[in-house]
Symmetry: none
Subunit: 155 residues, 2 copies
DNA sequence: AAGTGAGTCCTACTTTAGTACTAAATTCAT
DNA sequence: ATGAATTTAGTACTAAAGTAGGACTCACTT
């Protein structure tokens, strides 16, 4: 009987309307000598347009939203749990290009391979490396990779 | 009088409807003789009852509740989620010494540093490296580190 | 006792990485 | 438009890494 609870008022309205129309009909029969079909027509109009109004309101009204925040433990896969430590990157003053090279470095590429993939010379990669090592305060590429991963600068 | 409170709006609506219809009836009695006003009367009925329907739906219907469940990701620090892929290590035939060196390598140590820390010569480390690279099918230490981490051979 | 595999160490060599500069073109905000 | 930062590229050098052999010891197995 859930539907009844939900539409209780609507049903009550319907019943009251029916009773009311019946009462009016009775009034009409007793006091008015008018064309009966007109009254039925008017009543039908009223009922129909009330229904139309209800339908319009229900269909067009914006639903009142209730936001329930449910905390759910999500096991984040390793490749997804990486959130770049933007603040740290800025503090270390690592440029976008340097990060790009750092990433390629961590993937196991040689300087020559990095140079080829980003279309610059080997010299340029080496220069970037120097800056990266200085900024990260490391001596070797392997240290740079380890530190960058530990500091969440690269995945 | 609890029932009155519960169905107050419905009753009030019923009364207002009654009053309204009575008023319309009165209007009808006064002006219905003029045929040209019938269209206006019907139109008024339609508009009024549409409005009533809208009002009824908006005021009396249960508010539509749209429940938005927001799954809040709770960061689970995977402290020691590293389980060494023992099966894979055996398949790759990596010895304990090789794993030890691989680990030190991944921490950013140079071959000389590795040699010093495990009290062997640089040559020995290099020999181990050759075997590690061959077993992991890589060309460089950085690739070895990347692959070993990816395959969960080292943390 | 011979064989095996892991670990050790070596020489000699090539390749790659890294250092220490210099310097120009480009980008970008003030 | 000017100055700072970034990106680019170079030379010349040293250091480290990697390659390709060979060789020895030791523990363990067959």
């Amino acid at each position: 009987m859930k539907w009844f609870r939900n539409y209780k008022t609507a049903i009550l309205y319907g019943i009251s309307l029916f009773v009311l129309l019946f009462f009016l009909k009775w009034l009409e029969l007793r006091y008015i000598l008018f064309d009966h079909s007109l009254e039925i027509y008017i009543g039908s109009i009223a009922v129909l347009f009330t229904a139309l109004g209800i339908w319009l309101a229900l269909k067009l009204s914006k639903p009142k939203t209730k936001t329930i925040i449910v905390e759910k433990e999500v096991f984040i896969p390793k490749e997804e749990d990486f959130t770049m430590n933007q603040a740290l990157i800025e503090k270390l003053e690592l440029s976008a290009r340097e990060l790009e090279i750092l990433d390629l470095m961590a993937q196991g590429n040689s300087n020559q391979e990095i140079a080829n993939s980003i279309f610059v010379s080997l010299s340029t990669v080496k220069t970037h490396n120097q800056n990266i090592f200085e900024k990260l305060d490391v001596k070797r590429r392997t240290q740079a990779i380890e530190k960058a991963k530990r500091l969440q600068i690269i995945p």
